[in-house]
């Protein structure tokens, strides 16, 4: 016992180093688990409130551009209303309570108070949280296109994975004919580009084609703008194209965003899980 104590005292420096290093490893490995609740992230009170103050200042300085973007969005919404004003009167009154039509997506507006673009895993912090009805796995878009996916929520803030995160995958499709593939952010992409792997060879893809989200993703609604095809190539031995796209969202200028809740997500997920487990049981 005494020799052990002596050993501990003599090597306290190295033991302390190893102990703290293990703490770091535990913290990092917890962080890699996507479902975990985190204390030391930017949705905690100190960090989030600091970021909120800065975001308020910056928002004031960017009012002109923000106004222009909102005006543009208003114009496009007005176009939709004008072009089908007759039906919309009926639809709008039916949507809420009808048993035949049910609202599938609920939009919440939010403000980005922290954002990065130059790391390998980029995160956003939003000024809405569980009190505003935000939960894990909600989609985030802005008027330009897709932005990210909510990861953790605290009472008044939420932290989200940006599309510029190496672990985020979103199923996207060609707007013109519906061929789809997973979108990811690869190592050679910068803040304005991303990669779609596994696009079928017979999809007749062309540079400049529009890419939108596909209905296969249970997080994003179908048809949200993603970007335009920049180039595509077939790697030797692959039966698929690897497509480089320009993202339509300017990730350096994200301010106001919409957080989208899919009302039927739980139902869809539990159904899919159920049939998958049935399958396993059969085997």
């Amino acid at each position: 016992m005494r020799t052990l104590l002596n050993f501990l005292i003599r090597n306290n420096y190295y033991l302390l180093f190893i102990f703290l290093q293990i703490m770091c490893i535990i913290l990092i490995s917890k962080n890699r688990n996507l479902q975990s609740t985190r204390i030391l992230n930017s949705s905690n009170a100190v960090a989030a409130n600091t970021f909120k103050t800065i975001a308020n200042t910056r928002e004031y300085l960017a009012l002109r551009e923000e106004n222009q973007m909102l005006a543009k969005e208003n114009a496009s919404l007005l176009n939709i209303i004008r072009s089908r004003s007759y039906e919309l009167i009926h639809v709008a009154s039916l949507v809420q309570n009808d048993t035949l039509y049910k609202q599938k997506y609920i939009f919440n507006s939010a403000k980005v108070i922290n954002n990065s673009t130059n790391l390998r895993s980029n995160y956003l912090t939003l000024n809405v949280g569980s009190q505003q009805g935000i939960t894990h796995d909600m989609a985030i878009i802005n008027s330009e296109g897709i932005v990210g996916v909510v990861k953790d929520v605290s009472k008044n803030f939420s932290s989200a994975l940006s599309i510029l995160h190496k672990d985020v995958k979103v199923t996207c499709m060609l707007k013109k004919n519906g061929f789809y593939g997973p979108l990811s952010w690869e190592k050679d992409d910068d803040y304005s580009s991303a990669t779609i792997s596994d696009m079928p060879m017979h999809s007749r893809i062309k540079a400049g084609d529009t890419i939108v989200t596909s209905a296969l993703s249970s997080i994003f609604p179908e048809g949200i703008m993603v970007g335009y095809v920049k180039s595509f190539e077939r790697k030797s031995g692959d039966a698929f194209y690897t497509v480089k796209i320009n993202l339509s969202t300017n990730f350096k200028k994200i301010n106001h965003v919409y957080v989208i809740k899919n009302v039927f997500k739980n139902e869809q997920d539990s159904l899919e899980l159920k049939s998958q487990t049935h399958d396993k049981d059969d085997k």
């Binding site: 703290l20 290093q21 535990i26 890699r32 030391l40 930017s42 960090a47 895993s121 050679d188």
Partner: protein, 174 residues
Amino acid sequence: MISNLFKNILRFVVLVLLQVLIVKNINLGRYFIFFPYVLFILLLPFNTPKPLTLVLAFVLGLCVDMFYDTQGMHAMACLTMAFVRSSVLELFAPREGYDEQLKPTIAYMGVGWFSSYALILILVHHFVLFYIEAFTFHEFFRTLLRVLGSTLATFSFIYLMQFLFYRQSNNRIS
């Protein structure tokens, strides 16, 4: 002694705030990222007890992690840097050891001493940080480039800061 403690606490707060409020928004692409907050570890007095250095580095890392959403990564990088610091200090020690009044700044130790001391430690910090962040050796050379570029960026930042905040002192030894 008390004023020294106070100075270090102040430096801790100021550097963390500088890092997360201002430097975090400097954007020179993916290969040049600034982390001047490590200056806190570089400037700890020579006679700081070694275990205390480790604990301070760990806390500093956690504080920065909180704002960068990188739970544990900066803490690990800072910890490794603080661990290496003691060996580097021994390696670069003058023959008669470090004087009580000396501080590890350019003004006291000279450009040559400070550059090699700071470059080695910043390199260690960035190396750990970027490889833990990437968490793969698939992007080995790209990550290495980021390490080297960012080391240069951080070092130049710290070098300039030294000239801004520390006046040339008379009892300079080099």
